[in-house]
């Protein structure tokens, strides 16, 4: 990083693509800006009121045919260029929102004014996120209070983090190192201190880092224990007598609702089903589940989601 311009080189493949677009647009707008400014300067010098320049046949009348052609040209050419830029940027934006299916999932809970990180293996961090180089990482994020925004300039990646829903952001770090993490949605007094770092490690180093932490349960195992202590298993368990939907192979599948709609059982669906059970009732079941709003923290909900997700393949196994 130079002292004059603290530009961080791209640290992910998508960031590299964003930089190419940035460069192309800078070149395009630079040419336009220089041309217009040069024209203004030339006209101002040449047609100063006291110069002897030829001022006849100035295209002033809008009904003039040449004038019309000029106007048409400078409407249509920019329009085509703009549409080109739009398509390029929109395609890239789509890629920014399409994590590969094998991406490793990490949960983020934002709160005034810190980032809480939960790895699938149970490791927790605050204001730091360790990731292995070369593996796609998908962050599933929510906020405990106000809106925050997760911004890593080196990845050219940013996503607002909202209370009451999950947003995702994904990246593949291709350079080892430490990179800034900023909160970029104003969130109150210590907004400027809601910063952290992304630590990108070589895969083997990352494995050592994981192993060096305190021995603990995986996130899914923590969820499984919560599932029992909160009494969920009483109804949703295998031996339950209550008529409640089974949760095995629920995650990521379509669910038919009592209203006739079908929704995908994603993180938000599971979250809402725990906190607002009457919102989306599965077809064939009566709305008898009590709400757990106020009884479970954001982290506990994430553990429960991780547990339910782990049921997708075989009960109790890790994702």
């Amino acid at each position: 990083m130079s002292a004059l311009f603290p530009w961080t080189p791209a640290a992910s493949p998508l960031a590299g693509k964003v930089d190419v677009l940035l460069g192309a647009l800078t070149a395009l707008t630079g040419v336009v800006a220089v041309t217009i400014i040069a024209l203004i300067i030339v006209f101002c010098l040449r047609y100063r009121h006291n110069t002897k320049a030829d001022r006849t046949r100035a295209p002033a009348d809008q009904r003039h045919r040449a004038t019309r052609r000029i106007e048409l040209a400078w409407t249509i050419i920019p329009l085509l260029l703009f549409l080109g830029v739009f398509v390029w940027a929109a395609d890239l934006y789509y890629q920014q929102h399409a994590p590969p299916p094998d991406a490793q999932q990490v949960f983020i809970v934002a709160k005034q004014w810190m980032w809480k990180v939960q790895h699938a293996d149970g490791r927790r961090e605050i204001d730091q996120l360790h990731v292995p180089r070369g593996y796609p990482i998908k962050l599933v994020m929510t906020s405990q209070d106000v809106i925050h925004s997760f911004f890593v300039p080196a990845f050219r990646a940013k996503q607002d983090v909202l209370p009451g829903r999950y947003t995702t952001l994904w990246f593949t770090a291709e350079r080892a190192g430490r990179f800034h993490l900023f909160c970029t949605e104003y969130c109150g007094t210590d907004h400027a201190r809601m910063i952290g770092e992304i630590v990108v490690m070589e895969p083997e180093e990352y494995t050592r880092w994981l192993a060096s932490g305190p021995a603990q349960q995986t996130l899914a195992a923590r969820g499984e224990r919560l599932f029992r202590t909160l009494g969920c298993s009483g109804c949703h368990g295998a031996s339950a007598t209550v008529h409640a939907p089974p949760l095995e192979s629920l995650y990521g599948r379509p669910v038919a609702l009592a209203t006739g709609r079908t929704v995908i059982a994603d993180e938000l669906y599971i979250r809402d089903s725990i906190l607002i059970p009457t919102k989306d009732v599965a077809a064939g079941y009566s709305p008898i589940m009590p709400s757990f709003a106020g009884q479970v923290s954001e982290e506990q909900i994430l553990a429960l989601i991780a547990y339910i997700e782990s049921l997708r393949d075989s009960r109790g196994s890790q994702p």
Partner: protein, 559 residues
């Protein structure tokens, strides 16, 4: 060169002006004269501009060093909120429409006043009431939400005077609506004989389009702020998910107003610049009709692009794409305007008095601001750039480089008409250059800061950003000096400046067909319009000051 016989008044009748119609405080505070109300607005918004500017200066002072050493985080947050709220609602939005628009619309269309003179005065009182309430809240306790009042921070988490500040903004919204309404009716109903729609000066088109936006968009702001107050006071769940609300709903409603508000701020500037550039190039504006259509297109499409503020907010990817393509569409008429201003200079006979310098500054800075808009409209790039200093630089290029320069250009251009006095052109040119240089030094480094990833609304920051922040703060001090000059030499001109003739710039347009300052009823006789606007023809060595030469005093007043 004029299509209308100019009813020039001899200097002896100058005493008979709207300024000499009364000298008591009462004659100002209860006036129904649009020209006096314009001056009431001008004085008020100038005061608030300097309040907001002081906050900006303090912000730049804090950002000289990476550590938050001058103010606490809380004070810093209150400062940028004050800066934003004051500058947006109490300076930029009323700036040109309520002052130059108020003063000039009846003069330009050949009317004796706005359609509803008393409503016009009410607009000013509402503005003052709103300003007192908001300024009271901002100074007594402060508000730390930012001018955007994002929920749920503003409704359930901030412990500051949010409701009071919002109430002031709510009140000033009605001032905007009434001004807009007044101008719409005036332009429709009170045009002089022969003043057809396509004979209207582009300034009138611009203020007219702005007024339509004011009337349609401002009520949405009032509703949004009311809903916010309901949630904050009565805990009704509208925006906060804890209460069953949706935080993105606030952003949609807020930007549905606040994006068109950007055009409320910049369209009038485009109008001013169109008047000045054609006069000082002594050439009819290039593509008059296209310019008028471009103004209308901006006003209409401007209503459909609000979601481009929300590309990383969690709105759907496809909604983002629609808002992005519409944003590129709205850029087209803006681009056309820049091309047309440039083409107007071609084969002109260009003079460089102060209004023209401000105008050329506007064209350059507005263009750079507009081009940087192409970056933030590009979805994948906006992901990186949004909520960084790039966005700060982008909208300051439009709002300050654009609107403020146009406002100053307009004030300098019509100053002789408004006050009947001539200011020192040398000082005015010096100020214009100082402002232009100071502005670029302040805000260009902020583009680079944004690209490097410096987030906005940070009162402390990582040390690698310091060099650019120091450059920006240095520029801000030059800019501040530049902004302090015009009030000094303009006020000086009120006492010591030469008397102005009716038409010191040898300009076309009805406002120059009456004395400077105009009589209370604007025109002794309502003029009849027989031709299109901007009847200029460039000639080599053409003098701008043709009919000013008739009067001996004018010849000595020019440098």
């Amino acid at each position: 060169m004029n299509t209308i016989a100019a009813p020039l008044l001899p200097p002896s009748e100058r005493a008979d002006s709207y300024l000499s119609a009364g000298y008591s405080v009462r004659s100002w505070l209860l006036t129904h004269d649009h020209k006096r109300i314009a001056i009431l607005f001008a004085v008020s918004i100038t005061l608030l501009f300097f309040v907001g500017g002081t906050a900006a200066a303090l912000i730049r002072l804090e950002l000289l060093t990476p550590a938050g050493d001058l103010f606490s985080a809380e004070t810093y947050n209150k400062l940028f909120t004050l800066h934003g709220v004051i500058m947006v609602w109490f300076f930029l939005i009323p700036s040109i429409p309520a002052t130059l628009g108020n003063f000039l619309i009846p003069l330009m269309i050949g009317a004796r006043d706005l359609a509803f003179p008393r409503l016009n005065l009410l607009s000013w009182y509402l503005y003052i009431a709103g300003a007192v309430v908001t300024l009271g809240a901002l100074i007594a306790g402060g508000v730390d939400t930012g001018w955007t009042f994002y929920t749920p921070f503003s409704t359930l988490f901030s412990n500051t005077y949010v409701i009071a500040a919002v109430t002031g903004v709510f009140i000033v919204g009605f001032s905007s609506i009434l001004t807009g309404l007044n101008i719409i009716v005036t332009v429709h109903e009170l045009r002089a004989p022969g003043m057809t729609w396509f004979r209207l000066p582009l300034f009138v088109w611009a203020i007219y389009a702005t007024s339509v936006i004011l009337v349609l968009a401002t009520p949405v702001l009032a509703m949004t702020l009311s809903l916010m107050a309901f949630e904050r006071i009565f805990r009704i769940g509208i925006f906060d998910p804890q209460l069953g609300g949706d935080p993105l709903l606030f952003q949609h409603l807020f930007w549905f107003y606040s994006h068109p508000a950007v055009y409320i701020m910049v369209l009038p500037g485009m109008g001013v610049v169109s008047e000045i550039i054609t006069c000082f190039a002594r050439k009819r504006i290039f593509g008059y009709r296209m310019m008028a259509y471009a103004i209308l297109a901006i006003a209409v499409i401007g209503f459909l692009v609000w979601g481009h503020h929300m590309f990383v907010s969690g709105q759907s990817v496809y909604a983002g794409m629609v808002f992005s393509v519409l944003s590129y569409l709205v850029a087209i008429p803006s681009a056309i305007k820049v091309f047309n201003w440039t083409a107007t200079l071609y084969k002109g006979s260009i003079h460089f008095e102060a209004p023209m310098l401000y105008t050329l500054g506007f064209v350059g800075l507005f263009m750079l601001g507009g081009l940087s808009g192409l970056f933030v409209a590009a979805l994948a790039l906006d992901v990186h750039l949004t909520d960084t200093y790039f966005v700060i630089a982008h909208f300051h290029y439009i709002m300050v480089g654009g609107t403020v320069l146009a406002y100053l250009g307009g004030i300098h251009y019509w100053w002789p008409k408004i006050t009947g006095r001539l200011y020192s052109d040398a000082w005015a040119r010096f100020a214009a250059i100082l402002i232009f240089a100071g502005f670029n030094l302040t805000f260009f480094p902020q583009y680079l800061l944004g690209v490097a990833g410096m987030p906005r609304r940070y009162h402390e920051y990582p040390p690698e950003f310091q060099v650019l922040h120091v450059l920006s703060s240095a520029g801000a001090s030059v800019l501040a000096l530049g902004f302090l000059l015009p009030p000094i030499y303009l006020l000086w001109s009120l006492r010591r400046g030469e008397h102005a003739t009716a038409n010191p710039w040898n300009a076309s347009g009805l406002e120059w067909r009456t004395s400077s300052p105009p009589p209370e009823e604007n025109f002794k006789e309502i003029p009849v319009v027989t031709g299109p606007p901007y009847d200029y023809s460039p000639r080599e060595g053409d003098s701008m000051f043709g009919d000013a030469m008739d009067e001996s005093e004018a010849s000595t007043s020019r440098p």
